[in-house]
């Protein structure tokens, strides 16, 4: 479980997240929605400390994964990011072969046995629902794949190092409807093994894929509930106005 208590985040003097409190359950899909600039991506990137690479940022409060504060000084950020994988809006495969894209993280992590690497590459590609499309050309360049395939390859790459949590920042926004549907189906399949947090601008996508939805606005968490409730009977007027397209 990801437990967030009174979490604030600052870009320099500018506070972009205000007192966020929520509990993200294991092996479910939690969607973060809200208008541009509402802080949802910043929040997502706070979970595996991706914001650390931006100078002048700082987080306050608690984000705990299975009881361990990710902002504690003792935390090894590299191992944190191995446990909390990330998939970005724009697919970013390395300019290497399909196989190497997935094997890379394993080698960095110290795996040397070729057979183990082969097996893990295959398992990861299968889990990302792309194995059948690439199994005969594992040594071809990843850059020759279509956008949707590249995105699934990036998901396979994230899965290879066996994370518990997968953060997805608008993973389908650059894809056509068919590729989007494949990613959505994949998210639905993956949740039986992974905890998934997904940022999306597409409210329908949040409704389709997620179990829980958090609605952010102006850096605050307005409402957080099971997705069905958010989309059928939201409690807050702001949420209702946003999801019915009355502003945003």
């Amino acid at each position: 479980m990801i437990d967030v208590r009174n979490f604030n985040f600052f870009y320099g003097e500018h506070q972009v997240l205000h007192g966020i409190n929520l509990e993200i359950p294991d092996r479910q899909v939690t969607a973060l929605i809200g208008p541009s600039g509402c802080g949802k991506s910043t929040f997502l990137r706070s979970i595996n400390r991706m914001n650390d690479i931006i100078p002048g940022t700082r987080g306050e409060g608690l984000i705990a994964i299975n009881g361990e504060n990710v902002y504690a000084p003792s935390v090894d950020v590299v191992s944190l990011r191995r446990r909390v994988g990330m998939v970005f809006q724009k697919s970013n495969p390395f300019p290497k072969s399909i196989y190497e894209n997935v094997a890379y993280g394993l080698r960095i992590g110290g795996m040397t046995d070729k057979r183990r690497i082969d097996a893990t590459v295959e398992r990861s590609l299968r889990r990302a629902a792309i194995w059948d499309e690439v199994k005969d050309r594992l040594n071809s360049s990843a850059l020759a794949l279509s956008g949707g395939q590249q995105q699934r390859l990036c998901i396979a790459r994230a899965l290879a190092v066996d994370p518990d949590i997968l953060l997805m920042d608008e993973p389908a926004s650059a894809l056509d409807p068919i590729a989007t549907q494949k990613i959505e189906e994949l998210v639905y399949e993956l949740k039986s093994n992974y905890t998934i947090v997904i940022v999306t601008h597409n409210m329908q996508q949040a409704a389709r894929v997620s179990d829980r939805t958090a609605f952010f606005m102006l850096g605050k968490l307005v409402e957080y509930d099971v997705t069905k409730t958010i989309f059928m009977t939201p409690k807050e007027k702001l949420t209702e106005d946003y999801i019915t397209g009355r502003f945003g």
């Binding site: 189906e185 409704a207 997705t227 069905k228 059928m232």
Partner: protein, 219 residues
């Protein structure tokens, strides 16, 4: 299978389960009437709540499907058809309850006459309801149109049965209460057939996207 297809399949299964319950209710109501079986009638009265609950469950499921899955094209027509078919089924079950209530009243008195038209009417109505559900499951517009065509036969039988019962009423005023109850029963079965017709109109809409309600197709 897509996650969405599984949801649609689940909705279909719920509707079929409700359909089976409604068919049972019609069957028992016919038995209650023809075999003067008051226990059967009571069973139908007792089972009605389960059918009502089923309607609520399907309503909830269809609304959720629309909110979460934004169905389009044939999927949208399926969900819309499900929303319109469910209350028809519930109404048919209520009519079976009405038949049973009149049957219980009739069973307290000696039979007015041997029943001829009403059993035929009842069997046709029952058949139409069953076939309308088959047509829905198979998305079979041809079968749906066949069912709709049988509605004229039902109307004729209802009329015929009414005329005959009227003669009993004219003959002896002590027949009136039983004859009126039988007239009602004829009407209840005729309305069940109307329900089947409405379901079939939704099946044509589902299969072909064509609205045939309130218009003659030959026009």
């Amino acid at each position: 299978m897509r996650h969405f297809d599984r949801e649609i399949e689940h909705l279909k299964q719920l509707l079929l389960r409700m359909g089976a319950m409604v068919e049972d209710a019609i069957n028992e109501s016919i038995r209650a009437l023809l075999e003067r079986d008051t226990d059967a009638a009571q069973r139908v009265l007792d089972s009605d709540n389960a059918i009502d609950q089923m309607e609520l469950e399907i309503d909830q499921h269809t609304i959720t499907l629309i909110a979460m899955m934004q169905p389009a094209a044939v999927d949208l027509r399926f969900v819309a058809a499900a929303m319109k078919i469910t209350p028809e089924l519930e109404r048919v079950a209520d009519l079976a309850v009405d038949v049973c209530e009149r049957a219980i009243e009739l069973n307290r008195e000696p039979p007015l006459k041997p029943l001829l038209d009403i059993p035929r009417l009842a069997r046709i109505a029952q058949d139409m309801v069953r076939q309308s559900l088959d047509a829905f499951v198979r998305r079979d517009a041809a079968l749906a149109r066949e069912v709709i065509a049988r509605d004229d036969e039902v109307d004729l039988l209802t009329e015929q049965s009414f005329r005959e019962l009227l003669t009993y009423m004219l003959e002896d005023s002590r027949n009136i209460s039983r004859a009126i109850r039988l007239t009602f029963i004829g009407k209840y079965f005729e309305r069940m057939a109307d329900g089947a017709t409405n379901i079939c109109e939704m099946v044509v809409y589902l299969a072909e996207g064509k609205v045939i309600k309130h218009q003659h197709e030959s026009d």
